[in-house]
């Protein structure tokens, strides 16, 4: 028993490597979803908002491969077109929070002193709000729409990126090459932009990939509350919202399809991001 337990660490490494096909599969799925989103108007068989009440809640058929929803709209078309809003929103959150987070984290670590403590206090304040709560607050003030929740979530995710960047930059600036550049007369800004930030970028980007999955969940959740995208926009969270009444009447398909799309996409992004983070940390270690 004891020997078997002690042998488990290498055994774990075997599991990790044998999971490579899974992460390849996930990478493939991510590529597929992105391709669907980009090519959506050419792939979707029907218009996403064509209402056909006579055909409401019909099951899968040759004309409607994934059935239709309670208003008779083609589920497949809404799914494919919904991939656009469902991916574009989290992308906005991740891009904004990464850019601003890296800038703030680098500034805090590089300058230190009062700037560092002001930025740290600000981060503490944002941390006091769970991300979704901040988004709900801002939506309640500015009304529904895609932009307000994206900005709110970007602010909520910002401290996670800035804290990570800060700790990475603090370690990086102690390394000899930074001193070497300084001696050669390069300015602090130049060293940061050309050497330090590219040095810490892989770890931060891996974190951002994982954040993408969480942002997708949060934005879909807001749409599920009816606080996200406007009513007619095809969006996966909105589709679950529209389909939840049908579920209670025993027609779950129009809600299950977007549910599956959300879960698979989030899992795929998480696996890819974690695999990336593993690789990056192993290279550093």
């Amino acid at each position: 028993m004891t020997a078997a337990t002690l042998l488990r660490r290498p055994g774990l490494a075997r599991i990790r490597t044998s999971r490579a096909p899974l992460s390849l599969l996930c990478l493939g799925f991510v590529a597929l979803v992105v391709a669907l989103a980009v090519l959506a108007p050419w792939i979707a068989p029907y218009d996403a908002n064509t209402v056909d009440l006579g055909n409401a809640l019909a099951g899968p058929s040759a004309e409607h491969l994934l059935g239709v929803d309670a208003s008779g709209r083609d589920t497949l078309s809404r799914l494919v077109l919904g991939a656009r809003t469902s991916l574009l929103g989290p992308l906005g959150v991740v891009v904004f929070s990464t850019l601003a987070g890296v800038a703030i984290g680098t500034a805090a670590a590089w300058r230190g002193g009062w700037l560092d403590s002001v930025l740290s206090r600000g981060a503490e304040l944002v941390f006091a709000f769970p991300g979704m709560l901040l988004a709900i607050l801002i939506v309640s003030v500015h009304g529904e729409g895609l932009l307000a929740p994206v900005i709110a979530l970007a602010i909520a995710y910002l401290p996670y990126v800035s804290r990570l960047t800060r700790s990475l930059v603090l370690a990086e600036r102690e390394r000899p090459y930074v001193e070497a550049y300084r001696v050669q007369g390069h300015s602090g800004l130049q060293i940061c932009l050309r050497h330090v930030v590219p040095g810490v970028a892989p770890v931060v980007l891996a974190q951002s990939t994982i954040n993408f999955g969480y942002a997708l969940i949060d934005l879909a959740g807001l749409s599920f509350l009816g606080l996200g995208v406007p009513a007619l926009t095809p969006d996966w969270g909105r589709m679950v919202f529209d389909g939840k009444t049908a579920v209670q009447y025993g027609y779950p398909l129009s809600a299950i399809v977007p549910c599956a799309a959300i879960v698979l996409t989030v899992v795929a992004f998480n696996v890819v991001g974690e695999r990336w983070a593993d690789k990056v940390s192993r290279r550093d270690g």
Binding site: R9, I15, E124, I136, S140, V141, H142, G143, L225, P252
Partner: protein, 319 residues
């Protein structure tokens, strides 16, 4: 004495952050483009006198600083103002709805702790097929948003199998437990996966350390080693996720309550957000932030008791 100073310091920090949060919450509402008075009138045109009366009743005609200080003073006395939609005191609304939310969160928390720690333990100790199964299952649990879980559980267990009600809160303790079971599972699912992952990683980390090998070589029984020297040590790391657990529970309950029509403060937050009932939104946001910070404070104070190696000091930001 050292502990007391640490506690006072953390308490002061919390009070400062809470003050900042209250300012953000109140300020956000103040900046709102829609005028609360127009919601009160619901589109009806009103005489200037009526408008002035409403502005005076809700103190909408005073400068920002005065409004903020008045609001803060009342909040400290437990008075959150009057709800614009329900036309009653917000504190009454909250008192009616807080019990079901707290019960729902407690049920979910019990599930998270029991299953999360158990699955993490099994994954770390057993390894092999059990571990792989747990890894794959938790990957999907983490990827499933609570509202997706809610809709799927509702479709399967309430609509198809009729084991549970499709929604509502229920009267009396037994009915409430029965009504809140599916919502609690939906609320807990993500966190079970997360906690299992963290527990497993923390235990594997401790398993590889020298003191475990030493204990084993001295003939300490396997179960005792795992329980006393691995799990106990890993618990410190697990405790650092408590903030995430609590904040997730608090905010996710909004989605789950909305999906199952549970009459708690989460559903109230959703309803009052759509109707721009600002006093209610302010009150619930502030309560959620305060609850979250209180739990964080308690965990910070308890951490040294669970793991004596933790030095008391300013809060270190966890990686």
């Amino acid at each position: 004495m050292n502990f007391l100073r640490f506690a006072v310091r953390r308490l002061a920090e919390m009070a400062a952050t809470l003050l900042g949060a209250s300012f953000v919450i109140f300020g956000a509402m103040y900046l709102a483009p829609g005028n609360p008075a127009s919601f009160l009138l619901a589109g009806r045109s009103a005489s200037p006198e009526a408008l002035r009366a409403i502005n005076a009743q809700y103190h909408l005609d005073e400068p920002f600083a005065v409004q903020y200080v008045r609001w803060l003073g009342q909040v400290l006395q437990g008075d959150f103002g009057r709800s614009i939609t329900y036309r009653t005191d917000v504190s009454r609304l909250l008192a009616d709805r807080l019990p079901s939310t707290l019960l729902l969160i407690s049920m979910a928390l019990a599930l998270v702790l029991a299953l999360g720690l158990l699955l993490g333990w099994i994954g770390a100790v057993r390894g092999g097929a059990a571990d792989s199964t747990i890894l794959v299952t938790t990957t999907f649990a983490i990827g499933t948003p609570s509202f997706v879980a809610a809709v799927l559980l509702q479709g399967l267990f309430a609509v198809n199998l009729h084991w549970f009600p499709t929604g509502g809160t229920g009267e009396g303790p037994a009915q409430m437990l029965w009504h809140l079971t599916l919502p609690a599972v939906a609320l807990a699912l993500y966190l079970i996966g997360m906690l299992a992952r963290v527990t497993r990683a923390a235990m594997l980390d401790v398993l590889g350390q020298e003191h475990v090998t030493v204990a084993r070589s001295r003939g300490v029984s396997d179960h005792r080693v795992i329980r006393r020297h691995v799990f106990r040590n890993a618990l410190g790391t697990v405790l650092t996720t408590s903030g995430l657990i609590v904040s997730t529970l608090l905010v996710t309950t909004v989605l789950v309550e909305s999906a199952f029509s549970v009459g708690g403060i989460g559903q109230l937050l959703e309803l009052s957000t759509t109707t721009k009932d600002f006093p209610t939104v302010q009150a619930i946001s502030l309560i959620m932030v305060a609850l979250f910070m209180t739990v964080n404070l308690l965990v910070d104070l308890l951490h040294p008791l669970v793991d004596p190696r933790v030095a008391l000091g300013p809060r270190r930001s966890a990686a």
